[in-house]
């Protein structure tokens, strides 16, 4: 908890769950305090787009005993709720989803959780910055002139600002992991298919997967277990092997590179074996991700909805949709071969190592007003740099995690990217916890200026 604060949202998710279960924290008071904090604190970050006090109270009244009994959780604007249709950060979702019981809703409900808010996101999930949304841009609490990341930017910012201790994001091309990196929290893209796709606006896609976004790995494990509906058992990570893929360490901001290098060194000092690993097909990760992510959803768009709302879509979003429709069919078919090559190469690599590691994003969060990043090769759009780092987990389906591992000299978060074999999501949490211990939790317990200022006021 913050020094000087006794607000329940300064507790971790597991502390909230334990305190409610033990009768030390009243769940109704927790819900009310959460709604008040959102009201008081969210303005500068714009992470929350909807609250619904009466529906949350009803969920709480009907909540079964469970690992998250009475604990408020926020969800991204991509899931049907019985009282609300998702909007995908746009005027309407393009697939025609109305209100309903998404799998994410059911799994949270069955764990006893209380859905307290819907979070902001990049328009249609089509960006890694979060600066484009019908609700307005979303900022990282570490510097509210800079991007929260995308597309699950609201979920990342809400957790970092300590509006909620846990949020659900989705990740079709890195969309849980980029905002986790930009906001200094821990985000896990579960193995593809872990959560059923129903009620998820991108559930048709072969790349997207929901996952937990929390302050640290132990909280992500708790929320991840609820979403996965299976245990993610903890195992001491010290006998694991880390593979470093040098390709993804090239053209990285020097400060980011330095902190990620140090993080791997801390893991080595903690007893993990570190070895270099090579993967085939990495040169096409970015273009294959962009093409598949941009086009897989096309058949599911209802033309009449697009006609109705396209005047309200951002000019950039509208133009990029048109741009992607120019992609040659043969290029899209070739992405199948990129995936096949990457998946086989990853499977071989995981015969020798347990996790792979490289910088999560190549540079710190860019300004909302101009979301480009400076790399050693020059200035590029943030999306261009980010997707190279994150897309491989989506093309292949493996679980992947963003772990806080440092700060720039100007106080912006830096994160290490970890990937594991299909179905071994818990190994990522084990390694992230080991990293937290090795760095004395200084990055996961750090409080952004915005949260600190109001926590002690």
């Amino acid at each position: 908890m913050n020094a000087g604060s006794d607000h329940p949202q300064d507790l971790t998710l597991r502390e909230q769950a334990r305190a409610v279960a033990a009768g030390e924290l009243d769940a109704t008071e927790l819900l009310d305090a959460t709604l008040r904090r959102i009201e008081e604190r969210d303005g500068p970050v714009n992470s929350i787009v909807d609250t619904f006090a009466s529906e949350s109270a009803r969920m709480l009244n009907e909540a079964p005993e469970g690992p998250l009994h009475g604990v408020p959780i926020a969800v991204k604007d991509m899931f049907t709720l019985p009282w609300r249709a998702p909007r995908d950060g746009a005027p309407r979702n393009l697939q025609g989803f109305g209100p309903g019981e998404s799998a994410v809703y059911r799994r949270l409900r069955d764990a006893g959780a209380v859905i307290v808010a819907v979070t902001n996101m990049h328009e249609f999930g089509a960006g890694s910055t979060g600066h484009l949304s019908v609700y307005g841009p979303c900022a990282t609490p570490w510097d509210t002139t800079r991007c929260a990341g995308g597309s699950s930017g609201g979920s990342g910012a809400a957790v970092a600002a300590r509006l909620v201790a846990g949020a659900v994001g989705t990740d079709g091309g890195g969309s849980i992991r980029y905002p986790s990196a930009y906001c200094g929290i821990t985000g896990l893209k579960l193995t593809w298919g872990t959560v059923p796709p129903d009620g998820y606006t991108h559930g048709h896609a072969s790349l997207g997967a929901p996952g937990p976004m929390c302050r640290d790995a132990a909280d992500a494990r708790l929320l991840g277990e609820a979403l996965a509906a299976r245990p993610l058992p903890e195992q001491r990570a010290t006998n694991l092997r880390v593979g470093v893929v040098r390709t993804f360490w090239e053209n990285i901001d020097p400060e980011v590179h330095e902190h990620c290098d140090l993080a791997v060194e801390r893991l080595r000092e903690s007893g993990l074996t570190v070895a270099e690993v090579e993967l085939d097909g990495t040169e096409f990760v970015r273009i294959a991700t962009v093409l598949r992510l941009g086009l897989e959803g096309d058949p599911y768009v209802k033309p009449e909805i697009w006609e109705e709302i396209q005047g309200e879509v951002s000019p950039v979003g509208r133009a990029l949709a048109k741009y992607l429709s120019l992609a040659p069919a043969t290029a899209v078919v070739r992405t199948d071969l990129v995936r096949a090559q990457l998946r086989r190469s990853l499977a071989r690599a995981f015969g020798h190592v347990d996790v792979l590691a490289w910088p999560m994003v190549p540079a710190p969060p860019p300004p909302i007003a101009d979301p480009r990043v400076q790399l050693p090769s020059g200035e590029v759009p943030a999306d261009y740099g980010n997707v190279r780092q994150g897309g491989i987990a989506n093309l292949s389906g493996v679980p992947a995690l963003s772990a806080p591992c440092g700060f720039t000299r100007t106080g912006l978060p830096i994160a290490l990217h970890l990937l594991a074999h299909w179905g071994e999501d818990e190994r990522l949490l084990d390694v992230a916890e080991l990293l937290e211990q090795a760095t004395e939790r200084r990055y996961v317990d750090a409080v952004p200026p915005l949260a600190h200022a109001t926590a002690v006021s």
């Binding site: 193995t191 593809w192 298919g193 872990t194 072969s206 790349l207 040169e283 096409f284 970015r286 273009i287 294959a288 962009v290 093409l291 000019p315 950039v316 509208r318 133009a319 990029l320 048109k322 741009y323 429709s325 120019l326 992609a327 040659p328 043969t330 290029a331 070739r334 992405t335 199948d336 071969l337 990129v338 995936r339 096949a340 090559q341 998946r343 086989r344 990853l346 499977a347 071989r348 995981f350 015969g351 590029v380 759009p381 261009y384 292949s396 389906g397 074999h421 299909w422 179905g423």
Partner: protein, 70 residues
């Protein structure tokens, strides 16, 4: 493809599909093409003849033909 050539191609190709484009569309698409066009062209030019298709793709599990046991 770059510059005016791309803008003209984009305008005509989209017009053929009944999709109208304006100057903002063309400006954004030109930037996107300058960023992603070279990698798309490299993808089109790459030799994948040695890469077998993954006929039973299931992203929830490792490929069945990876040649490595775990």
């Amino acid at each position: 493809m770059a510059g005016e050539d791309f803008r003209e191609y984009a305008r005509l190709a989209l017009l053929r599909e009944g999709i109208e484009v304006d100057d903002v569309d063309l400006a954004v698409m030109s930037v996107a093409e300058s960023v992603y066009g070279p990698e798309r062209e490299a993808l089109m030019a790459a030799d994948f003849s040695h890469v077998p298709y993954e006929h039973d793709l299931d992203p929830s599990r490792a490929p069945s033909d990876a040649g490595a046991e775990r």
